[in-house]
């Protein structure tokens, strides 16, 4: 009886065991092998190093540096408050801030979360030594983007940010990962494919605590390519300094190549902030009323005012509507239909020829001339100089501005074009809006007698010169251009010129602009080229609500050019 039961018990039990093991090891062995591999094999990504961004002489504007940070592994942290207390004690941060950053940066229980970055080296070593026993607390080091000059040229350089879900969906095939950093604006964005280093990785064997037992294979990360910008750091610094008190932009371009030498947008921001673990600083930037992230030089669209008179003059002379000697009388106001249009000088300029009208920026002369030339000619010439469309500069998010025309008005305003509209555009007012870059390019094309370059900021990529497009040769009579240029020179150098505050030696040629803003003080413009006799650079100063173009902006230009002349011994 006992033996029978015992034998049956033993047989059945052992049979069940062996069957079960057979099913595990033989039938599902591959599955469990894979599970076992998943247990102990980990692929650790190694981020590639971003290429540097340098100025035209190789001075580094954006580079990399070793960064130490405190990270938490949420699911490994046993007592979060204790960890916060430690960090707060050691680094002097408030527990509330840490808690806020924790909640902001939390992604998943298993994903490392950066709590504090940019800890100095010695502190990092000390923390690593002292708190190695605290579960889930990591002192990690990585290579981080660094902008040594802080906010200098920030709009041009751009900033990095964590890849968005949409970008990731698109860029996954190129090796981007969840939490990869990617250029979000400026050169960082435009040249992302070149700057980005190839990611590497390690295949490691880990134990149950996730500690690395053995590195099975390793693919070193690669460095991205270096981008040399056309910018001259010295000029950039000077211009940033000059523009710092204002909201606006300052641009300078090499008229013989289309290379941007200086591109300032003010106020600026520190791109390093976008790499800090505290996203509140980023939010502050995004929410700021001064819009520091807006690159006013290429993204801003503003009314231009009197600088546009130069274009109207080109159209008038080229179309033959006016000869340089034609004169109009300026009594101070101008009646057309039921409306009265005024000159900026209340008493009027008396009789003016075209040269005088440019020097004095006489509105009445341009009303008459604009009506005589006709809107079609004005639009035609504005178009060949690139108004109303993007310049195609190698930077993202460029604005196209607005060049109004009768067709445009019918389509968009459901109204026909009135002579009053022509009168307005003749002095650069009305519907017309421009980006500072468009104006700069126009001035540069005047300076070099009608060669229209596509402006660019990339000089070379890791020593490899980038292809420079040939300029458009505009179908203009050089005599007419030379006439306008001379008038611009007189606008600065004659005692009655509107731009006399910018007078420097050697002589420059420039035009002021005072554009009525939608609200508040007028926008101030001052743009031209230097030196007058053999133009090297075109420049443009723009200050939002800066009042008259002949004041703040003219002074900025003067100081900049003085510095430029000194630097280049002109």
């Amino acid at each position: 009886m006992f033996s029978k039961i015992y034998k049956a018990f033993l047989t059945i039990s052992f049979a069940l065991i062996i069957l079960r093991i057979f099913s595990f090891q033989i039938l599902r062995g591959d599955y469990y092998r894979k599970m076992s591999l998943n247990n102990y094999l980990r692929v650790l990504p190694l981020s590639g190093y971003r290429g540097s961004i340098l100025d035209r002489y190789g001075r580094e504007l954006a580079g990399n540096r070793l960064n130490f940070s405190i990270q938490l592994l949420p699911d490994r942290v046993k007592d979060r408050e204790e960890v916060f207390d430690i960090i707060s004690r050691e680094l002097g941060l408030s527990v509330e801030d840490l808690d806020r950053i924790y909640r902001l940066n939390f992604k998943a229980p298993f994903a490392p979360l950066t709590l504090v970055s940019d800890i100095d080296f010695e502190k990092a070593l000390y923390l690593k030594e002292r708190y190695r026993g605290i579960s889930g607390l990591l002192i990690s080091d990585d290579i981080k983007r660094y902008y040594p000059y802080g906010p200098l040229a920030s709009h041009l350089l751009g900033y990095l940010g964590e890849i968005s879900e949409r970008e990731l969906a698109e860029l996954k095939p190129y090796g981007y990962r969840f939490s990869s950093y990617i250029g979000k604006s400026g050169a960082e964005r435009e040249f992302e494919p070149y700057l980005r280093g190839s990611d590497g990785g390690m295949l490691v064997k880990v134990d149950n605590q996730g500690r690395i037992i053995e590195v099975l294979s390793r693919q070193d990360p690669g460095r991205g390519l270096d981008i040399y910008l056309t910018i001259d750091l010295d000029l950039q610094k000077k211009a940033e300094e000059l523009l710092a008190p204002y909201s606006g932009s300052f641009l300078a371009i090499d008229v013989n190549s289309g290379q941007i030498l200086t591109a300032v947008s003010s106020p600026n921001f520190d791109p390093n902030l976008f790499l800090s673990s505290d996203s509140r600083k980023i939010l502050d930037l995004l929410r700021s009323k001064e819009k520091p992230l807006l690159n006013r030089a290429i993204q801003g669209e503003y009314p231009l005012g009197s600088i546009f008179k130069l274009l109207v003059a080109v159209a008038a002379l080229e179309s033959g509507a006016i000869n340089p000697g034609d004169r109009f009388f300026c009594p101070g106001d101008f009646n057309y239909g039921k409306s009265t249009y005024r000159c900026w000088k209340s008493g009027g300029h008396d009789w003016q020829d075209l040269r005088q009208a440019i020097v004095h920026s006489c509105n009445i002369y341009f009303y008459n001339m604009g009506l005589k030339t006709g809107i079609d000619s004005i639009v035609d010439y504005a178009e060949i100089f690139g108004f109303g469309r993007k310049t195609g500069i190698d930077l993202p998010y460029e604005a196209s501005g607005l060049l109004p025309s009768p067709d445009w008005k019918i389509k968009n305003r459901k109204e026909r074009w009135y002579p009053g509209d022509t009168i307005n555009i003749s002095i650069g007012q009305g519907y017309l809006t421009v980006s500072p870059l468009q104006v700069l390019r126009f001035l540069a094309a005047l300076a070099n007698n009608g060669r229209l370059f596509k402006p660019r900021v990339c000089l070379s990529i890791s020593g490899e010169e980038v292809y420079a497009e040939e300029p458009d040769i505009l179908p203009l009579n050089v005599k007419n251009i030379e006439f306008i240029k001379a008038a611009m020179r007189d606008g600065v150098n004659s005692p009655t010129g509107t731009g006399q505050l910018a007078k420097v030696s050697p002589a420059i040629a420039a035009k002021t602009g005072t554009a009525q803003a939608v609200s508040g003080k007028s926008h101030a413009w001052f743009g031209g080229f230097a030196p007058y006799h053999s133009p090297k650079i075109a420049f443009l100063a723009f200050v939002e609500h800066g009042g008259g173009g002949g004041y703040a902006t003219a002074r900025i230009a003067k100081e900049f050019l003085t510095y430029y002349y000194e630097k280049n011994q002109l």
Partner: protein, 346 residues
């Protein structure tokens, strides 16, 4: 056949040696010299077993009450002495720690046979004394808390009833009573014991907590495939994914490194050993001694089955060592003593 040598010695020795080799691998990354300590325990066990052999089965049987009483006392002392710690399974005696529950595993069968050998269990009420003493011991062990050790008392009780030819209808009222008391018992379990039972039902319930051990154990066994990963090469054991790899979960380490072929070999050895033990117990001229051996046989058999069964998820996880394989001095001593008594009765 040579009177001094029995094939049972060979089986037991081979299993122990394989166990040592496996223990070496299972504890390869631990400090603690488990292999040396286990070997020392083995020598000690042989000496103790020789003592029991010298005393003889008859005289051991006459000491049933004393052995039971002593074991009970040890359990109570263990409960009192180490009541401050989280677990009282261990009795710390200076340089060695002994596990009193293991001695009860030996003492209870001796006690049952010696005290109740002549009893006639023809009424339900007559079962009350053996049941009482078994449950008393089981309760004290479970309080340890050592659920596995407590449950290990029941196979010998059941076997004893079968050997005493107790009728099923006599036991039935007790079974019903036990079933009714079961929910009560469940609520008295420690939380970790409950969660072990819950995760036995569904290990995915808590893959990082209570279910973790079972999942890792299954991965260890399954990933062994046919030939295994080789000695010292089992990732689950070596990289410590498998908890308790040198004690309760020593079998998955073996399964991972030696594969299906190794397991067939090992289980074959266990079966041969048990078969030999069964044949010795059956042929014993002394009926009482034979009965005791059969209770030992059932105890060892059940322990092998439950230990392996829990590592592959066909039984809930209860802390139980695998005879000759798991590290643990107390259990090794008791197992060796039991085997020695078989050799004596050959």
């Amino acid at each position: 056949m040579n009177k001094r040598f029995d094939i049972l010695i060979l089986y037991a020795l081979v299993i122990f040696l394989i166990g040592i080799i496996n223990l070496y691998s299972a504890s390869y990354n631990f400090a603690g010299n488990y292999v040396i300590r286990q070997s020392v325990w083995f020598l000690a066990a042989i000496i103790i077993a020789a003592g029991f052999s010298f005393i003889g089965t008859r005289r051991v049987l006459s000491m049933g009450l004393i052995l039971y009483g002593l074991s009970l006392l040890l359990l109570i002392i263990a409960l009192i002495v180490s009541s401050e710690g989280p677990t009282q399974r261990w009795l710390k005696l200076g340089f060695i720690n002994i596990q009193p529950s293991v001695f009860m595993k030996f003492s209870l069968p001796v006690f049952l046979v010696s005290v109740f050998y002549y009893n006639n269990f023809n009424s339900s009420v007559s079962l009350i004394t053996p049941l009482f003493f078994t449950f008393l011991a089981a309760l004290l062990i479970a309080k340890g808390p050592d659920l596995g050790g407590a449950l290990m008392l029941f196979p010998s009780l059941v076997a004893f009833f079968i050997l005493k030819k107790v009728k099923f209808r006599v036991i039935l009222p007790w079974i019903i009573a036990a079933l009714m008391a079961a929910p009560l018992l469940y609520f008295n379990l420690k939380p970790y014991q409950k969660s072990r039972i819950m995760t036995f039902v569904n290990p995915e319930l808590d893959p990082l907590g209570a279910g973790y051990t079972l999942i890792q154990s299954k991965i260890a066994v399954g990933s062994g495939c046919i030939r295994g990963k080789g000695w010292l090469k089992g990732a689950q054991g070596q990289l410590r994914f498998l908890p308790e790899a040198h004690t309760d979960f020593v079998f998955p380490v073996f399964a991972e490194e030696w594969g299906f072929l190794g397991i067939v070999f090992l289980l074959g050895l266990y079966l041969l050993m048990l078969r030999r033990m069964h044949s010795i117990a059956s042929r014993d001229k002394d009926e009482a001694s034979g009965m005791l051996l059969k209770l030992f046989l059932v105890t060892i058999s059940t322990q092998i089955i439950v230990n392996i069964g829990m590592t592959i998820g066909i039984l809930p996880i209860v802390g139980l060592p695998l005879p000759f394989f798991s590290y643990g001095g107390s259990d090794l001593v008791v197992t060796v003593v039991m085997i020695a008594m078989f050799l004596k009765e050959r």
